[in-house]
Symmetry: C3
């Protein structure tokens, strides 16, 4: 009952053609951003657009009626889980939720991931898995006879985030070839900007700007990859100058702990590498600001919490002050971006369960 | 995308007319008991009665088919959550559950309540929120473009509990004008009896009796409010005498920690201010005993747990002995009261999602 | 509102006839394996076979449309919970989930199990309860006016596991009368093999072999019970010899802590009492290996985790090496056994909610 290894190697970038059957592509699992080429991305985005229409116009779609999805989460990630479960339910499907799947593998009741998958696949039609170990999703997909979607496996992959990022660029800017993207903030840690860079390399004539403090700059492997794919890239410490040229400014959180003892560098980074009203002012009219969310760094939160004599009302106002001037700008795309995650996940569920 | 402030002020008692559109009322959020006047209460109760019929007669109502509710709980409250989720599912709607919403705002992934709401509103049609901070529900309602129901925000409000209490009085006694209500037990702490007193003040010719130990007596603000609204009230330490005159005896838990060092006063309070068979014996035939549940004080539980040589069976019997003589009396209304919570929540979901 | 005691005694083995009404049987609660006789078992298995067809052929059954099940779990058991929730949803029913029902009875909000049941029964049509105390399920069933299914109550009963074990034997071997079953591993602890022995005693001409280390051998009460029912049994320490004669080899986990200081005995037991390729080689062609799952003992897991320089991939391979030679054999029935749990639970939900 274990899936054929040959079929499994379809997960590799090299053998992506097994996703295509005749003129249609056949999606079996979603394990890593790398498994998609631009044709498949284009097909997924087309379905995502249809999903947008379904979500907005036809309350109570029955497209996935009778299908059951299990969210097998070995670590909590409420945002991602809700997005997947909403996607399934918006299409009329049903959900089995496990937020404490670690219990499966507790000391008291040791069980391999493989055994858990073999059991759970008997109860459901598709598995959405979040795991703390890199590579876990691939192992699950190799074991399961039903589709598996990777909802993040440790420091490894989070392919649906990468897909929704690229989809958002296409939706907001109207194209992917020829775009200019500024990646801003902590570029060394976190898989988001790395995955995005990988996917952007599949398009033509793309230019990427890396804008980050020295201690958290983009690693060499990505730069080499981009170069090898003919993507132009440039490093800069001038956020405003970059922002004025870009179609997309992709902001990420800057976290204090990455700076170690150098809190002076941290404070400087917070001042220099965060999109605010002044940055917006130099951006082009058609450009957008994106952010993977959550947005606030813990330090800002701590600062607000430390205010004496604060009331919930004051706190709310304070928090608004920090962001409302950017939020109110139509170019602030991050909540639309989060919503696009819903459409991408609806599309993937539809494609994996019903096919093209 | 933030809601107009003027619209939000409809939450204030003063501008309650914005709930009314022509002859119909328009309910946008449920934030606090105070937002309702007797006309709106009457309308909600009418819908609750219809819900009672739906729940009992037509298995599988599809009234809210295609609608999605998110239970965004920042602290667990299984009883309240189950009641809301049952209400939604009894009407054919679907639910996204988050019991650990605190994770959204964890140190590792700081996020404001406002950002969480802006994300979650993209996944659902209505948000039911439980929060540990007073005022959180109002902040959520101001941010969201979809309806928000407050399922309790810290020491603040728990409006659906207040609504189900008043609805239960009407269902059990058949009227609200002219009723006599005894509030018994700990009247200083907890929002239940306070909210109930506020709502009763909206009716005519109501008489309220406060029956409590000195250390946990009703606070002055409520007494002044009742007086200002022309509601007669009286303090008494004679539970039996009050019970003989009342239509409703509303019992609350008495907790040891409220008495500090004075365990003697605590023991006296437990003897004097708890409804038992003897109290029932002096009550009128049409009168009822209500309780917000859970019912047992922790001390009684500890006492039972401390019994040596106890078996589950013995424990069960012991627990029954404490209450079964009251439970068996048709005037014990507390489980019907809990069930009324279902009908009230069905009514609110219907009104917020479909309108009047 | 409390159920009649006479009715409740139908839970006892002695009065099993109350399950039968005319030619039909009436199932009210599922509390313990002992409540079933072979006629009822046979009827349940017949329905389970129908459920197998429904699950495989008719996506989106609406048999239990409009019905609501609450999974009231006082301790987590993701595997069991998922199986029940999948069963309900495969039949078109809906689910209210509580994984932390202990909160109901927390120190802060003391509440008896009886009060919880009286509240929850107002929100749902059937309760599936997991509890940490033996006898809790019976107490719940005595209180509730709706059906209760015991999903395990502490060291007490786990009747749906017992049912699925017997069902699996019938499905795999084609008969129950005249079968030869080897119970292997830790026979002293855990309710699984004990319950199975009880149920096997209801069939004719059954032979049971106990194969276990001395410290965890089958207790006297079961042996006496089997003798009193005319079931032949035999103890042996030669797994291969027994395996060659049996229709079913039922393996259970052997846990280090049962051996105290005697880790030498433990190591010996792991070598001698675990089904591997060599044991499979002597088994008959039609025979099967069963296991209640999870399968891996914690020690094996620890051993794998202790490997230096391991990668997820290596770990996965290592884990496969331990079992894959048995897993790949068609006589390894344990994942089919887990799947049968789904059919048995679908059958019980159908029988309890709709009747025969």
């Amino acid at each position: 009952s274990q899936r054929d290894r040959i079929q499994c190697s379809s997960l590799e970038v090299e053998s992506k053609r097994t996703f295509l059957k005749g003129d249609k592509f056949q999606l079996q699992d979603v394990i890593e951003g790398q498994q998609f080429d631009r044709d498949i991305l284009s097909a997924i985005f087309e379905v995502a657009r249809e999903m947008e229409t379904i979500e907005k116009k036809s309350r109570g779609s029955q497209l996935l009626n009778g299908y059951l999805m299990a969210t097998l989460f070995y670590e909590p990630s409420t945002r991602t889980r809700l997005s997947f479960e909403s996607a399934m339910k918006r299409l009329g499907g049903e959900v089995l939720t496990t937020e404490n799947a670690r219990e499966f593998s507790s000391a008291a009741k040791g069980e391999t991931l493989e055994d858990t998958i073999r059991t759970v696949e008997g109860y459901t039609d598709i598995i959405v898995m979040r795991h703390f170990e890199s590579g876990a999703a691939r192992r699950a997909a190799m074991t399961a006879n039903i589709p598996v979607i990777n909802a993040g496996d440790g420091p490894g992959e989070h392919p649906t985030q990468a897909l929704l990022d690229v989809y958002t660029i296409q939706r907001e800017i109207g194209k992917l070839d020829g775009i200019k993207v500024g990646l801003v903030g902590d570029l060394a840690n976190g898989r988001t900007v790395r995955s995005l860079a990988y996917l952007l390399a599949k398009y033509n004539d793309v230019k990427v700007y890396f804008v980050s403090p020295e201690v958290v700059k983009m690693k060499e492997d990505i730069k080499e990859y981009l170069t090898s794919k003919g993507v132009q890239w440039e490093e800069s410490s001038d956020l405003k100058e970059v922002a004025s040229k870009c179609d997309v400014v992709y902001q990420t959180r800057i976290q204090r702990e990455r700076f170690g003892e150098r809190s002076d560098l941290y404070e400087e980074a917070r001042g220099k590498y965060i999109v605010d009203r002044e940055v917006l002012d130099v951006m082009q009219k058609h450009a957008v600001v994106m952010h993977p969310l959550p947005r606030l760094d813990e330090d800002t939160l701590e600062c607000i919490k430390g205010l004496t004599g604060r009331t919930p009302w004051l706190e709310s106002v304070l928090k608004s002050l920090i962001t409302v001037d950017v939020d109110a700008d139509p170019r602030a795309a991050y909540f639309r971006q989060a919503k696009n995650g819903l459409y991408i996940r609806m599309a993937l569920l539809k494609l994996l369960l019903l096919g093209w």
